[in-house]
Structures are given as structure tokens and as C-alpha cells.
């Protein structure tokens, strides 16, 4: 019996101890007519047959060199990361409620909090939310708790559309509105109104925006401060090796920072599990959602770690909690922490610089082709939009045959024009990859 140890004698002895004669009798409080057998579930497979089925399905996916981004990136994952997070002691532990028996996980989270605080330039960070988008949703709610009189959030047009959809699904449940801020059609970046709407609690500032462009974060932060708004920075953590940390934006720095940690040691996984980052000012910590780990000590003064401020959480505060989140992304936190440790300040910067450099090379190579242009031409980190003279969807599909996932057509994100392709480049892209990409595009365009 897969995963069940009992043999017949053991089962019989246990039934005898309980005083029943068969297992079914243990279900005697459940009305008989409710009990059925799941006929529709297929029969089980041996481990061997199971492996074969999954391996066949995995082989059905072509292996692609990825130039797709839009929030998820094919960065290199240091080999130690999967090796370590697969260790049973991390993999099969529960949320660290019993601190003394969970020091491994607790210290990892404490280190993660520190890493994220330092990367973002913020004072405190939590132990993760589900993903970047849901972290942003939680940030909006937190802003509204901090500004209980307000009911809306200012959202730039070029926030990643999937993230915007999450806000649109969930904020209205609590009667919160998103008010969209226009973009400058030439520059592709936020155009600020003179005056913020009266019921707005916060301004979302995505640095990098959905077109891959860099925003003038100082100006945005200053405007938010002037308008009495909280600011919610949305960042891509690897870019922070090069870009200004939100804690240093404007004069005061951002109030809340969220982001998607996938770029830090987490595989693409078809979209998840990823890991939502969340950092803020220390004086806001009691309004923070999610789990927090603090350093503490035992009676002998030895240093250890434990969960703290649990009174914010649902298992204590129930309906009044700062969030309903319970299980979050522990193992992905572990992955990101180990990736950050493996790369170090040096490796992070190296990966960021190379991503940027190779992105520039690919852009230059593509712009070299006839009738290919860049619709918005501001500074970027590792992602940019190129406008092709043919449908980007068609081009993307055609390049699959070359083993290239060419990017994300803006049309699929509900943005831009038909020929617009959002292309992301990471440090894994070699010069040869760039040549291959260009050659493949050239071939298609010539047809």
C-alpha cells in the first residue's frame, strides 16, 4: 500500500485496541448513504509507471531559450539552491510555530527579512506573501488601514496587467477602487496629474514598468509625499543591484515595497510557486500582513529566533487580522535566501550588469533589421518593447520552431499594438543566442 505502513496484523491489533472489528466501523458516525467509492478516479500506478507518465508529459514541452519576461525571468539558479531546498529538513517541515524545533527555518526567514530590507533599503520585511501580485494587493489594503478615511489607490497604466487584474478581482470586495493614472504616450511612463483624487490612499510606483521602462521614481515619490499619499513601490529584486533602492527614492523613500522574488533562485515553474516580497517602514509594522520572525533568547541567554507580532495574524486575531494569509511561500523564501547568499553582492551585480548588457546587444541587433523599431525609447534594465512590421504573436509562434520563446506580445497583455513584442534578456543569454534570435527574426521578416 503506497505510503501506508500497516500490515494486516498491525491493523488487526489496532482495531482490537479500539474495540471495533473493521476500519469501516470507525466511520459509523457518518450517514451510510453519504459514503461512496470514487469510481471515477483511475487506478493507481507504480512509482515506475508514474515516473514514465510524467516524463512523457514533460518531454512534450519543447525546450526553449526564453526571452519572455513580463514579471517572470529565466535567470541562472546556482546549483546549491535546489540541492539545499530539497533537503527533507527544509522541505518537509511545517510553519515554525514551535520555535525550538524550527530554528533552521526561522533563521532562514530572519536572514531573508534582512536581505530584502537591505536590497530595498527599507527597515523591515516580512517572511513572504504568495507572489508579487498578491503582495501588491496586500500592500493596498495595508495602505488603506493606514489611511482609513481613503478608499482608492492610484495605479499607473503600465503596471503589469496581470497584477492589475488581481487588484481588480480583490479590492472591490472591500469597496476599494483603482484609479488609473495615464501614461505619457511618447515616453511610456507615468504622467502625473496636478492633484491626487481626494479619496486616494496611495500611489503605486512600478520601477520597472510593464513596458520594461524605468520611471522617474524620485519625481513620483516626491509627488506622492506632496499629495499626502503613501507610496507603494513595485520592484524587481535583481534590478536593485543596479537601480536605486526604494528606501532612497525622493527625499523620504517609499513607504511600502513589494516585488516578485522569482528572479532570485526560483524556477519559472510555468508560473508558480513564486514568492511575494513585502517591506515597509518600521513604524508601520503592526499593520503589516504576513509572518514575521524576530531574534530572541532563551533563559540561558542563547540567541534564537521565533515568530513575532502574531497578534496581527488570523490564527490569533481571526476576522480582525491584517490579512487572511497563513501558509505562504516558505520554501521559496529559502530558495531566494540561498540564491542571495550564493550570488552575494558581487554575483548579484554581475548578473544584473550582464542582463543589462546583453539586453542592449539584442536590442541593437534587432533595430538593425529593416522596419523594426522601438516605440518607446527610454532607459531600461533588461526588458524592452520592439515593434515589428508583422504580428508579434505570429512572430513568437514562428520562432518556437527555432527553440526560441521570443517574448511576450503586448497584445496578449492588452497593451500596445499588434507588432509590439516585450523582450526580456537575462545573464543566461549568450552572444550566440542573440545572433540566433536576430537571424531567426530576419528570416521570418524576409518571407
Amino acid at each position: 500500500m503506497p505510503y501506508i505502513p500497516h500490515d494486516e496484523e498491525e491493523t488487526a491489533a489496532m482495531l482490537a485496541a479500539i474495540g471495533v472489528d473493521r476500519i469501516d466501523a470507525l466511520f459509523d458516525e457518518i450517514p451510510q448513504h453519504l459514503q461512496t467509492f470514487p469510481q471515477g478516479v483511475p487506478e493507481g500506478l507504480s512509482e515506475m509507471a508514474l515516473a514514465r507518465e510524467f516524463e512523457e508529459r514533460a518531454a512534450a514541452q519543447p525546450s526553449l531559450r526564453s526571452f519572455a519576461g513580463a514579471g517572470a525571468y529565466a535567470h541562472h539558479i546556482p546549483a546549491v539552491v535546489p540541492e539545499l531546498i530539497g533537503r527533507g529538513e527544509f522541505y518537509s517541515a511545517y510553519t515554525p510555530y514551535q520555535a525550538e524545533a524550527s530554528q533552521g527555518t526561522l533563521q532562514v526567514i530572519f536572514e531573508f527579512q534582512t536581505y530584502i530590507a537591505r536590497l530595498t533599503g527599507m527597515e523591515v520585511a516580512n517572511a513572504s506573501l504568495y507572489d508579487g501580485a498578491s503582495a501588491l494587493f496586500e500592500a493596498c489594503l495595508m495602505a488603506l488601514r493606514l489611511r482609513p478615511q481613503q478608499r482608492s489607490i492610484l495605479v499607473p497604466r503600465y503596471l503589469l496587467p496581470h497584477w492589475r487584474e488581481v487588484l481588480d478581482s480583490l479590492l472591490p470586495l472591500q469597496d476599494v477602487r483603482c484609479i488609473e493614472l495615464d501614461a505619457d504616450p511618447q515616453r511610456g511612463t507615468v504622467r502625473l496629474p496636478a492633484q491626487a483624487p481626494a479619496d486616494a490612499a496611495a500611489l503605486i510606483i512600478p520601477q520597472i514598468n510593464a513596458l520594461g521602462l524605468l520611471e522617474d521614481v524620485d519625481a513620483l515619490q516626491r509627488w506622492a509625499t506632496d499629495q499626502g499619499l503613501l507610496s507603494i513601490a513595485v520592484v524587481q529584486p535583481l534590478s536593485l543591484a543596479l537601480l536605486r533602492e526604494p528606501g532612497g527614492w525622493g527625499e523620504s523613500g517609499a513607504d511600502i515595497v513589494v516585488g516578485e522574488a522569482q528572479a532570485l533562485g526560483i524556477p519559472l515553474n510555468g508560473g508558480g510557486p513564486y514568492c511575494g516580497l513585502f517591506a515597509c517602514r518600521r513604524d508601520m509594522v503592526r499593520q503589516m500582513p504576513g509572518r514575521l520572525v524576530a531574534r530572541t533568547r532563551d533563559a540561558a541567554g542563547r540567541v534564537g529566533y521565533c515568530l513575532t507580532l502574531q497578534a496581527r495574524e488570523q490564527h490569533i486575531r481571526r476576522g480582525q487580522a491584517t490579512s487572511n494569509v497563513c501558509t505562504n511561500q516558505g520554501l521559496m523564501v529559502t530558495a531566494a535566501t540561498i540564491a542571495l547568499a550564493s550570488l552575494g553582492a558581487h554575483g548579484l551585480r554581475e548578473a544584473a550588469v550582464r542582463s543589462h548588457r546583453q539586453a542592449r546587444s539584442l536590442l541593437a541587433a534587432l533595430l538593425d533589421l529593416k522596419a523594426v523599431r522601438r516605440p518607446w525609447d527610454g532607459p531600461f534594465f533588461n526588458e524592452f518593447v520592439v515593434r515589428f512590421p508583422i504580428s508579434a504573436v505570429q512572430l513568437r509562434d514562428a520562432l518556437l520552431a527555432d527553440g526560441i520563446l521570443a517574448g511576450v506580445p503586448l497584445a496578449e497583455l492588452g497593451l500596445g499594438e499588434d507588432g509590439d513584442l516585450l523582450i526580456a534578456v537575462t545573464e543566461r543569454v549568450s552572444d550566440e543566442d542573440i545572433d540566433d534570435y536576430r537571424a531567426a527574426v530576419g528570416r521570418i521578416l524576409e518571407q
Binding site: 476500519i23 487506478e43 539545499l84 524550527s102 523591515v124 510555468g270 520554501l331 553582492a345 532607459p379 511576450v408
Partner: protein, 475 residues
């Protein structure tokens, strides 16, 4: 343990010619350490050894279903064919993955006897939020905007009221009878045109099966409200009783409990939602659809305009879903039923044996489900020893502590869930240890109050932590 921030070596900064305005760039170098690869590996390997985990310890943590997480599922979910897929990959280049997710949707629909499933919720709590948002959307779609109240038993998990609030509901708590079942009269009192629904776990977090479930469903439906099923305890009835048959309209499953995906020290989980036909249009997106031509694709807003929408940037915790599907496929129809059989056998055996050595059941007249509740109030009165002390002392014997002080309505309680993957020998050892602890409580209560005694650290001071609030490593 030293901190990773102590393992630093100076590295010359990478110089770079960036095509980014200086004003947008970082002014100071990143203040992060540069440890060597061996230092990283050694640090985190050593840290890992400071955890208790299923792979190393018995973990009878009630309400959490800490069962064995099959290693094959880990291997298969990490096949490059899955791990390397970018979420924006067009459907034609992810047919294998979509096929498996489709199989999982169907398997879960079958097991729950629901019409349709969405796999996107990232955890149980997000599944709850999705479910109650669907209840709201359902009422709204019928033009009924009055129903702003959600009924929840007081023994429910904290996520239930929190999720209901997040979906814009106010929460009314319902009392429980002394035998663990719901106070039916209270339910009837509360039901009315302002009630949107009720959230129930069955078996409940008291470790007993709600016997009046059909009557409850009838009353709730008569009042125009819907029933939400919190599937966290599904392990107790897997392959045997389907929430769809009990009268529930919508539910979530904790795949990281019943379907044996790992807890990872706090996630990722996965909280698939399943719904009866009348709630299908509202399920969160995306979902997998099989087309006429036999190919699979993601359903989007255009396909399901009434959907509550997207909960996360992408399609959910794919890596977790693959593990759940591997588990389901391995067990098959006979295997899933065995899960609940042996989970319940283990729980009832353990309850009986613990009673034999002197412990008190919170509901002695009831069958245990896959878990059961003890109370050590008697010990507390006699010796001052609390549930917390018993829990901490268990750690000294290499056994993780049960859930304590939950549900809050039973004083000094321990919620114990052995799961089906533990052997009789392990349970017998647990009983022996618990018997010894009881003896210790009576004879040397200070030993327990000072527990753990044998770990690297003694009992950690959580109050100190909250007072001093050191949340990051100082420089």
C-alpha cells in the same frame, strides 16, 4: 549559529558601463555579504539540521496533516520540461503540463463530487477567499446585494473569518454543542435574508464529524444562503465522503495537506477551489480547458466573463499542483480511500491508547476523525503544567508538538493528528513518551515548565522578542 551576514569576503565591485541615467542608479554599493560557495552550503546545511521535519521526526500536528511527502513527486515536478516553462509560453508549447493539470482538475472534481475546479489559489486561505468571493458574486449575479453576513462556527480556523472579512462580509460566530456538533438552534436563529453563507469544516477542527450536516445544508439552502466547505480536513474522508454530496456548494482543498505536497517550512501550499454547477461561472481564472480537437488551453476572462477573476499573477502554484497530481495518480481510486481509512484508524487508536495512559479526550463520547482533541486541564489544575509545557517536553523526545490552544473553545487542549503514513510502532512510542510526560508532570512539573531541556536552545522568550522587535540583522 552564526549568521550568513558574518560570512563575508571583500570582492572588488564589477565595474560597468550602464545605459541608465545615474539618477536612477544605486548610489551606494549593495551591503550584502560575499560568502564562498562552501560557506553557503555549510551554513544552510547546518541550519536545516536544526529543524524538526516529517523526514526526520514524528509530527502529530493537528489540523496540519503532516504526512509523508513522496520524494518521487519532488523529482517529477522538477523535471526541466516543467520547471523551465515560462508562464507566457503559448499553449501549443505546454501541452504536457496542461494535460496533467487537466487531469488534476478532473480528479479533484471527482473526489469532491463538484462540477468544476480551479487550481489557481495559492493556499487554503486564498482558496477560502476565492470561495466566499464566488458566493458573493453568485448572489450579486442574482441581483441580491443584501447578503453581507457569513456564519462561521467559533471552532473554525482563523483563516475562515479573516477570508470572509477580506471578501467584504461581516462574520457571525456560531456556537458548538458539548458533543462537538453545531448548535442547530443558533444557526436557525441567525439565518435570514442578510446571510450569504456558512463556512464549515467537516470533520470539524474539533476532530469529530458533524452529524447534522444534511439538516444544516437543508436549512441554509432554504434560507437562500450557500455552504462553503473548508477542505483542510479532507484527509479524514478522502475517497469515502464527497463534500458535493453533503450539500456544499463550494470549497477549497489544501493540497499541501490531503495531497501530500510538502509544507516547506511554511509554504508553498495550494488551495484549489471546487464548485457545484451553479457556481462554476464564478470560479477564479485561469483554468484548463480541453478543446474539441483534444488539445488543452487556458480559459480566460473572455471565456468566463462572470469569473471573480485572477488571484495571482499566473496560474497558481504549478510546481505544487504537479506534486499533488503525482500523488493522486500514484494512489488511484483504491489508494485514496485507504488514506482516510488509515488516517482515521491511526487517530482512533492513538486516542484510545492515550486515554489508557490517563489523558482526557475533549469529546470522549465521539469517534475521532483523522485527528482528536485532548485536554490537559486536569493536569493543569493539579500541577500547574499547561498544554504548552507538554508540547515543549515532547520536543525533548524528538517528537514535534501537537497543535495547542486551538480550537480555543477547549481549554488546555492538544489537537493530535497522526496521519496514515505513520506506523503502529511510531504511535506506540508516542504513547509511551506521553505516558512518561504525564508521570513527569505529576512528579516533577518543573521539568516540563523548563522544557525543552535537550535541544540546542531552551524555551525561547517570545515576549522578549515582541518587546525588542529585532526583525533584521543589524550591520
Amino acid at each position: 549559529m552564526e549568521s550568513i551576514f558574518d560570512l563575508d569576503h571583500h570582492r572588488e565591485p564589477v565595474t560597468a558601463d550602464l545605459d541608465i541615467p545615474a539618477a536612477l542608479c544605486r548610489q551606494h554599493p549593495l551591503d550584502l555579504p560575499n560568502p564562498s560557495e562552501l560557506e553557503v552550503l555549510r551554513h544552510y546545511t547546518q541550519l536545516s539540521q536544526r529543524n524538526f521535519a516529517i523526514d526526520t521526526h514524528f509530527y502529530p500536528l493537528g489540523s496540519c496533516t503532516m504526512k509523508y511527502n513522496p520524494r518521487i513527486a519532488h523529482r517529477l515536478a522538477n523535471l526541466p520540461g516543467f520547471a523551465d516553462i515560462h508562464p507566457a509560453t503559448p499553449a501549443q508549447a505546454q501541452q504536457g503540463l496542461l494535460h496533467l493539470l487537466w487531469d488534476l482538475q478532473n480528479g479533484l472534481a471527482e473526489l469532491t463530487q463538484m462540477a468544476a475546479v480551479s487550481l489557481t489559489p495559492a493556499a487554503g486561505a486564498q482558496g477560502e477567499l476565492a470561495g466566499v468571493a464566488m458566493i458573493r458574486a453568485y448572489h450579486h449575479a442574482r441581483g441580491d446585494f443584501q447578503r453581507r453576513r457569513m456564519l462561521i462556527p467559533s471552532a473554525a480556523h482563523g483563516t475562515n473569518p479573516a477570508s470572509a472579512r477580506m471578501a467584504g462580509f461581516t462574520v457571525t460566530e456560531l456556537p458548538t454543542r458539548a458533543d462537538g456538533d453545531l448548535e442547530l438552534a443558533a444557526l436557525e436563529r441567525e439565518l435570514g435574508p442578510d446571510v450569504a453563507g456558512i463556512m464549515l469544516t467537516n470533520p470539524s477542527t474539533l476532530g469529530v464529524f458533524e452529524r447534522q450536516i444534511e439538516t444544516i445544508a437543508e436549512r441554509v439552502h432554504q434560507a437562500g444562503a450557500l455552504l462553503y466547505y473548508d477542505g483542510a480536513n479532507f484527509n479524514a474522508i478522502l475517497g469515502r465522503v464527497a463534500p458535493g454530496r453533503m450539500g456544499f456548494d463550494v470549497m477549497h482543498l489544501n493540497l499541501h495537506k490531503t495531497f501530500a505536497t510538502p509544507h516547506g517550512g511554511g509554504g508553498p501550499g495550494s488551495g484549489a477551489v471546487a464548485a457545484a454547477a451553479h457556481l462554476e461561472p464564478f470560479l477564479p481564472l485561469p483554468r484548463v480547458q480541453r478543446e474539441q480537437d483534444g488539445r488543452w488551453r487556458w480559459l480566460g476572462r473572455a471565456d468566463r466573463p462572470q469569473s471573480i477573476g485572477r488571484l495571482n499573477a499566473y496560474a497558481g502554484q504549478i510546481g505544487v499542483l504537479l506534486r499533488a497530481q503525482a500523488y493522486l495518480r500514484r494512489l488511484g481510486r483504491a489508494g485514496v480511500k485507504r488514506v482516510s481509512s488509515y488516517a482515521v484508524l491511526n487517530a482512533n487508536y492513538l486516542l484510545k491508547e492515550l486515554q489508557r495512559v490517563g489523558y482526557r479526550a475533549a469529546f470522549p463520547q465521539r469517534r475521532a476523525s483523522h485527528e482528536f482533541l485532548l485536554t490537559v486541564e486536569d493536569l493543569h489544575r493539579q500541577t500547574g503544567v499547561r498544554a504548552l509545557d507538554v508540547a515543549k517536553r515532547l520536543l525533548d523526545f524528538g517528537i514535534y508538538a501537537p497543535t495547542i490552544y486551538f480550537p480555543q473553545l477547549v481549554p488546555e487542549c492538544l489537537l493530535i493528528e497522526p496521519t496514515e503514513t505513520e506506523s503502529k510502532a511510531t504511535l506506540d512510542r508516542f504513547v509511551a513518551v506521553m505516558a512518561q510526560i504525564r508521570q513527569e508532570a505529576l512528579e516533577q512539573p518543573e521539568l516540563l515548565k523548563g522544557a525543552p531541556q535537550r535541544l540546542k536552545l531552551g524555551r525561547l522568550d517570545e515576549a522578549w522578542a515582541a518587546r525588542h522587535l529585532q526583525l533584521v540583522q543589524e550591520r
